[in-house]
């Protein structure tokens, strides 16, 4: 600046101004001077021209469906995404869907340096809204915004029916706009279309508690009711995770199972074949096997009986007896196999082998006492008894598998029902089970 020229500096602009309503005389505070186009008198609901020193009345409205009190009082200041904002305006807007009216509230947030932001509230669900700088691209039932796909949720005619405070535009009760919403939780993309303008905005779901903290509001926010269009699913993120964990555990189980199988294949402790002649009298067939060791820690024992039964049966009374302690495990097994033809074709019943698992057998030297019974009319039966130590129990793997599968299914189910509740309110409700399409 050259010498001799007095500096011309602008004094700080007054931002707030106290005035009186020309209609009813009530006090009116202008909080965003120069930005506000309209200001609404809280007492008489006159919409006034904020740019006019005399606050000319632009519209007077009746609060037909009741007066609303902003949950965040006008004049409250709070920090949102690092910037201080003051609540200067409040409006209630509504849509009618299938004859039912739905209302939500919008709060105008002002900062003299930053673009206006909005908070919306519906049934305790909040959104932080700002105007899009980039233009979204609409497709079939979707919109692309910054490379992300948003799904069409609803298109409805929105109508302003209650206003309070200041607005940086010419607000009127009764104003209509076509509002189209696309969602990608936690975000919502909206277009508002009037006769000569399309405005796109982007919103992000917020929890009431965070807003209460930001604006230092007393008490607690109203509880959120139901599921909102862009409310993040509490389980959605878990669904992929749990199935990934499930897949990993299933693979691990299969590897373990295969490993056990390989190991236990070598675990045959005893094997022997016998022949039972029909002619021999019952009761004298009882005999004991040689002694065989069962090694390692206390574990299960698998006894497999294989017999060449053919339309016949063999029943074996077994006792696994510890050679030292005389502790015995008694069990009976039947091997029977029948087959033939009838009017329905061939049939068969039973099997030529039978397996039983005896749990928790301590290590030691054991022998088997075997007492076979057969139908005396039958030819001699050959049978084999095999004893295996420490076999993998399929049941255990089954339980582990289910233990993993059940939470995965439960979480998936919760996620699906959350999404069903979300979309039930949209223009694309999920098809109800049992309802006919015809």
């Amino acid at each position: 600046m050259s010498a001799g020229t007095p500096p011309l500096t602008n004094p700080p602009n007054p931002q707030a101004k106290a005035l009186n309503c020309p209609q009813c005389g009530a006090a009116i505070i202008l909080r965003a001077m120069g930005h506000a186009e309209t200001v609404v008198c809280e007492s008489c609901h006159s919409i006034l021209d904020a740019k006019d020193p005399n606050l000319q009345i632009l519209q007077k409205f009746e609060a037909i469906i009741g007066v609303d009190r902003p949950l965040i009082p006008l004049g409250s200041r709070g920090k949102l995404r690092g910037t201080d904002y003051e609540v200067i305006g409040f409006q209630r807007r509504g849509i009618v869907v299938e004859g039912i009216s739905y209302y939500w509230h919008e709060y105008v947030l002002f900062n003299p340096y930053k673009a206006t932001r909005y908070l919306t509230e519906y049934n305790g669900h909040w959104n932080d809204i700002s105007v899009c700088k980039e233009l979204p691209q609409t497709g079939f039932a979707s919109a692309n915004y910054l490379g992300e796909i948003y799904k069409h949720f609803q298109t409805a005619e929105a109508n302003t029916n209650f206003v309070l405070g200041e607005f940086p535009w010419q607000v009127r009760v009764g104003e209509h706009a076509t509002v189209t919403e696309y969602v990608k939780p936690p975000r919502v993309l909206s277009s508002e279309k009037t006769a000569n303008e399309v405005t796109w905005s982007i919103g992000e779901y917020m929890y009431g508690a965070d807003i209460w903290r930001s604006f230092s509001l007393p008490g607690a926010p109203p509880a959120a009711v139901g599921v909102y269009e862009n409310q993040p699913s509490p389980v959605h993120e878990n669904v992929k995770g749990i199935w990934a964990a499930f897949a990993a555990f299933a693979v691990l189980l299969l590897v373990l199972l295969a490993g056990f199988d390989l190991v236990s294949g070598k675990g045959t402790a005893f094997e022997s074949s016998y022949r039972l002649d029909v002619g021999e009298p019952k009761g004298e067939a009882s005999f004991v096997t040689q002694v065989f060791p069962l090694e390692g820690r206390t574990s299960n024992v698998e006894v497999t009986t294989t017999a060449n039964v053919d339309n016949s049966w063999i029943y074996l009374n077994y006792a696994l007896i510890n050679n030292e302690t005389e502790q015995a495990w008694d069990f009976g097994r039947e091997v029977s196999y029948y087959h033939g033809y009838d009017s329905d074709g061939s049939w068969s019943e039973g099997s030529r082998n039978n397996t039983v698992i005896i749990p928790s057998v301590p290590a030691g030297n054991y022998y088997l006492r075997i007492e076979p019974e057969v139908d005396p009319k039958h030819p001699p039966i050959l049978y084999t008894v095999q004893v295996k130590r420490n076999v993998p129990v399929m049941g255990f793997f089954g339980i582990a598998f289910l233990a993993l599968l059940i939470p995965a299914i439960a979480i998936t189910w919760r996620s699906l029902s959350f999404e069903r509740m979300r979309w039930a309110e949209s223009d694309h409700p999920p098809i109800k089970i049992g309802s006919s399409e015809d």
Partner: protein
Amino acid sequence: MTQPVSNCPNCGAKIVFQWSSSVQTVCQYCKSILVRTDVDLKKVGQVADLPPDSSPIQLNTEGIYRNKSFVVIGRILYEYDEGGWNEWHITMNDGASAWLSDAQNEFAVSFASNTPGLPSATQINVGQQYTWNNQRYTLTVITPAHYRGVEGELPFEYWDKTEVTFADLRSETGRFATLDFSDEQPSLYLGEFVEFDDLKLKNLRSFEGW
């Protein structure tokens, strides 16, 4: 850089041009609108009192756009039925002239483009698409505006307007275009939306309580 200096033909105050290509300026003292001729300054009008300012930008606000510093040297103020906005005339440190528009604190920087074959005011509709400089733009709003006043230096004469029509266009990439139908031949400005914080503005207006 030598700054051209002369005196206001109306009140005699010293008039300093910050940008050598300025065609018009406003005397800071008597608010006379002055147009440069080959020899001197000619008073062509008078600026009525401007409404209380809501923009955080003012003359001499400095900032940075795409690594180039700029200074605000003038503006045109418009009003429309939903409010007002400012087109701040800025000069970059490389001598280029550009516009920083401030509509309710939504900021965009744009440069005049000499693209031929622009549509006329009667041909435009919301939703139309145009491709300029290999960028597709969608027309989002047509604004019939009212010229409200000028301040500081401008790259052209601009003082006798009344009603002017603008069409704003946006792209999917945050680019921004304005068709200005102030003159018989429409003019096009191409630019982009910018974040307040990214402009690193200095010498801003201050607001009581903020």
